[in-house]
Symmetry: C2
Subunit: 287 residues, 2 copies
């Protein structure tokens, strides 16, 4: 893997995210070598080949992995674990592997524990997505200016980390944050999982599907992410339940405090609390 | 008010919403007669005059109201009540008045009770806004395709209602729903006020303003409306507290149900509940 311009990049799982990676790599000239992809869905592979987004498509990872210098594992967490267990022997010696799992702690620990010593695995989480899944919707998933979290392992090679970071910026991401798996899971429980739980609860609590006739955009904005990929999010919620449950409780406490102020008609206190919220949210926007 | 093409339209309160009305009326040729505005803020009036958005500006409603065939009252609910009490004698006989208050029940009942018999008041609520207030941000508040709720009174003249509805569509709104003040307040408590309370609680429960480094858009979308106009929303929450508190409780119940499924690691049940949420939200989008 000396000449990175000749690198062969492989994408495992050509769904929404895998497809978005393929597109971002091609469109930004970030994959000047070959771009390969494997998926169980032949239609996605054919579509990607027809649109010249990938160079070769594989139904069988055993045929692709030995050729790849860099592999993006775009799989749901549990599928990722099973894939690594089954395919470990097929990775090219010295290759770099990264993933996109929305939880890092347990998942990465298991992958690391069973990793072949000649492979380098850098856990990652691109903070991008779309409520519409599948390769056909990959163009809906823009990387432009988005956050990317990396939770590097101690054993990662410095030059591999630099190469991956460079590639991430070339794909259009705006900011890379390096942190631990623990901090990732704690913060993502708030910015991502708690938000999905709230959006789901908000849709769950109203049976009238015509309520949107009375919508002005707030309800729509708060619940767009409730059109979620149920199997994936079930997995993420349960896998990260310790952090997520703590966040739900924190949120419930704030909600209850506002509810009490409203019930008590405590206008002055409510207004100053809402003012503080406004100020904090403006600061968050600038961060 | 025979020839509606010559109608003089007056806007009381040239803030975000009043400004957006003035813009929408001018830009769509919906105000072929004169367009007047009054506001206590001279700067807004001067800006609107300089940009030729209004024909005349007034600091004093007593000078404007006697000339207007149609008046848009773009004021916070309590200010609206004080305004009507103080200015009632100055409205032109036979003129049509409408408002934009986000709560209808009590407010409209008080206005109606004290209304001069020769005036026609049609309560309205344009479902549009922006987290940035004031006339300078009026262009951020698009009406295109948005919902408009009317809660007509029994005494409203049919031809006035038709005229107002026509004007609303000409300003770019996509759908008008006519309903009672009670139904409005019940539904708006969900689509608007509950969403603002949730967004505020979500910001309230996290002190780290750099958390957005871990954001992928969900938190940002869910909390944009937390940058709210605190005095206005305090008023709306407290005025509509009966409906709003019931909605908060409903939401809490759904949130608690999801929390329990997560805590119990009830994957199958959680997934099917999230699937149902997804389906319902898609139906809501189509409504």
């Amino acid at each position: 893997m000396k000449n990175r311009e000749d690198s062969v990049i492989g994408i495992v799982g050509l769904g929404l995210m895998g497809g978005a990676f393929a597109l971002a790599l091609q469109e930004n000239g970030a994959a000047p070598g070959k771009l390969l992809a494997c998926d169980i869905d032949k239609e996605s592979l054919e579509m990607a080949l027809a649109e010249k987004i990938i160079d070769e498509g594989f139904s069988n990872p055993e045929a692709m992995l030995p050729r790849c210098d860099l592999v993006f594992l775009c799989l749901n967490p549990q599928v990722l674990l099973r894939f690594m267990e089954k395919q470990m022997t097929f990775f090219k010696s010295g290759s770099l592997i990264t993933d996109i799992a929305g939880i890092k702690g347990n998942i990465c620990a298991i992958v690391e524990k069973n990793l072949r010593p000649d492979l380098d695995f850098i856990p990652g989480h691109p903070m991008a997505g779309s409520e519409k899944g599948g390769f056909a919707n990959a163009r809906r998933c823009s990387f432009k200016g988005k956050n990317y979290i990396l939770t590097p392992l101690e054993r990662n090679k410095k030059e591999n980390l630099e190469y991956l970071k460079n590639l991430i910026y070339r794909m259009g991401f705006g900011r890379i944050t390096e942190t631990t798996a623990e901090e990732h899971d704690r913060k993502i429980a708030f910015t991502s999982q708690l938000c999905h739980v709230i959006a789901s609860a908000l849709v769950d609590c109203e049976g009238d599907t015509e309520i949107t006739r009375f919508g002005g955009g707030s309800f729509e904005d708060l619940t767009r992410i409730a059109m979620l990929n149920a199997p994936l999010w079930t997995e993420l919620f349960i896998e990260n339940r310790r952090e997520l449950l703590a966040r739900i409780t924190q949120f419930e406490e704030s909600l209850d405090a506002l509810k009490t102020l409203i019930a008590e008609e405590a206008g002055t206190e409510l207004e100053s609390r809402l003012d503080a919220v406004r100020e904090r949210r403006i600061k968050m926007q600038e961060a």
